[in-house]
Symmetry: C2
């Protein structure tokens, strides 16, 4: 059997992720490998930790990568923070809140949820009521739930949690670098992400940052195996996972470099290059770019006569939900868009399946040409599917938005 080398088709990925990696990130993944304790490798790991402190707006020493997709870091956070039987309060406003609930249950925690309809967010008062009533050890929420496009306000959340004796975990996979995320200012204890959204990279590496408060809890559950790892045991209940044990990961990324997994070279390189590009632009500049192009996309979709989904005052900059017109088969149109224009937009989950398309404007694709090309292609397909669109159209509406922002 002789197979050809890979030859992927060219796609413009304007769904909720993954997106096209920045070409510089793609090239970085192909860089030469070194040993995992090579002085150059450990220096590069340290440098990458520093770069992600900037991305997260934090001074947390414990800022590192989990070697897996964003979901790996979510599970690492929950399984490392939560001892079996401990109480966690999970805010559910979409599918990724349900995922936090499920992962916490599997970790053996006692899980309590507060819920909001898909397309809305929680007020801090609602969260405070949950904390007051349930007194959990941990509060867990997503920042941006791609399932609904909503962006949960987090300002003051850490302070609130700490007042009630809870730690605070935030899944920022979809939101980081596309929306403000001030880990230290908001006193968030553990925040995790993934490269495949606004960080402009591929899936497969998950940055995470851990406050001193959270580090202490996790280290109290540290468990050292004779013959496998070195150091000292903590007094707490042992973490149920080895691969996702954040105590071991901190020891691996820390100055002691205790052996754990073998860090993935290509994914480290990708993560480092994603953050390097953002450092050049400045994290505030990256967020502003997502705001600009996301708003242009939203204006363009409305210019096509489509109705946006959810509370637009709390929408993430980088994902827009749009209602599928009644006279159009959403999946068939998406397939046509991919086949005719090589443009991918997203379907939805659960209650929004068949009702809402999701359009992403993220990372390398948060650019004017990508926005305009998507709108032009979508307009053409809507017409081919017999759905009337306004004469002025989506491209013009987006261009008007850009012009207004410039002046």
């Amino acid at each position: 059997m002789t197979l050809d080398q890979l030859n992927p088709p060219t796609r413009l990925l304007m769904g909720p992720g993954p997106i096209n990696a920045d070409p510089r990130v793609a090239r970085a993944t192909a860089s030469a490998l070194t040993g995992q304790f090579d002085p150059w490798m450990t220096a590069t790991m340290n440098e990458t930790m520093g770069l992600y402190r900037s991305v997260f707006s934090t001074a947390n020493e414990q800022t590192l990568l989990v070697d897996g997709t964003s979901r790996a870091a979510i599970e690492a956070a929950l399984v490392s923070l939560l001892s079996p039987g401990q109480k966690v309060l999970v805010a559910v406003m979409g599918r990724f809140g349900l995922l936090l609930e499920e992962i916490a249950e599997r970790a053996g925690a006692q899980v309590i949820t507060i819920e909001r309809p898909w397309g809305t967010v929680f007020t801090l008062d609602e969260i405070e009521e949950g904390l007051r009533t349930h007194r959990p050890a941990l509060f867990a929420t997503v920042q941006g739930d791609t399932a609904t496009t909503m962006n949960q306000p987090l300002e003051g959340l850490g302070q609130l949690c700490h007042r009630y004796g809870a730690l605070c975990y935030v899944d920022a996979t979809a939101s980081v670098a596309g929306n403000a995320l001030l880990v230290d200012e908001w006193e968030l204890d553990v925040v995790s992400a993934g490269l495949q959204k606004c960080l402009a990279g591929p899936s497969g590496s998950a940055p995470i940052t851990i406050s001193e408060r959270a580090r202490e809890v996790i280290y109290s559950r540290r468990h050292v195996e004779a013959g496998i790892s070195e150091g000292a045991d903590g007094p707490g209940e042992r973490i149920r996972s080895n691969y996702l044990d954040l105590a071991m990961l901190m020891d691996y990324w820390g100055p002691e470099r205790l052996n754990h997994h073998t860090e993935s070279g290509p994914m480290l390189y990708a993560a480092r290059e994603c953050a390097r590009i953002i450092a050049d632009e400045g994290i505030a500049g990256t967020v502003a770019r997502h705001r600009l192009h996301g708003a242009a996309m939203a204006a363009g979709l409305e210019g096509l006569g489509l109705e946006l989904f959810g509370d637009q005052t709390h929408r993430m900059n980088n994902v827009i939900g749009v209602k599928i017109p009644d006279d159009v088969d959403g999946d068939r149109l998406r397939a046509a868009l991919l086949e005719d224009f090589a443009v991918e937009i997203g379907t939805s989950f659960g209650p929004l399946a068949g009702v809402v398309w999701r359009v992403g404007v993220m990372g390398y694709n948060a650019r004017r040409d990508a926005v305009l090309a998507t709108l032009a292609a979508l307009e053409a397909e809507l017409r081919r599917f017999g759905h009337p669109t306004p004469a002025s159209g989506g491209v013009e509406a987006a261009m008007n938005h850009y012009q207004e922002q410039e002046s």
Copy 2:
């Protein structure tokens, strides 16, 4: 802050892994990304499953990738196969047996071990005695323990386990493609690997194959979340991890394509290219190449007057342990080798730390020039460190080995 692009030093990685990736694999990681349910992507995933069936010599439908390093797949296997309280018998002949023990404990299993001194392997009779005495639900072992360089014979192991009502798990991370591994013929139920050894790739993706017997056990623990995943629940105890839940991974890789994590593009591409290269050479040819160059390295090391470690009749083809001469500081010499010749060889763990170096001859580096360059550099450093080496030397001994094999 403006940082430069990555500029890793050129190294010849002749330790126990990671090794230099085949340049074709490195290039493949930089290929363009598509959406995870793009028809091209799902076809590529299916193609990759087929390629790994050849690598594992199996017809198992359930042959897929875990999105993490080799350790992620070990944990996926153990946490998915073992319900809390279930009995597992672990064969420990080195550090990676201890790792299986630890991971199984964290998964809540009742762990019983049989042990052999580092540098030796088990006979099937010893394993049978363990199975007869303890009647475990699962028997777990490594094939090649890089900590000791030993290669556990596995022929007939699955049949033996099944006779005693146990399933059988094998960690083949270090051994696959460097040593015979006949998953179907030996009736091994779950076998996992990693790319960073004889598969000639980077760390970060972990191929795994799952027999029908094992699939049934895992599917009986399948648990489906409303709003998150679809399908039907199984009757068994829920798997404690979401990220490493093999039932969910089988559903994601299977024809239903149920949503789970977002498969890493670069790591899928790397895994596919590793297996494509092996398919070109033929898996038996790849194993034979490792045998040839590993034996040449061993002959060369002996030609340097060094003593090999462990039972040489059961050594992996691809890793050689060699005793550090008494008059040499092992770590200082390794550092000099890296600095002067950019050649990396490995240190050891636990009882072998400071006693044994480990030299790998794996994947892309299982080649004549890499073997000879390593021997020449090692010989030069041994002399610089004041350790006398025989006049004929290591390079000549290795060359003689190659000549003998050719004739």
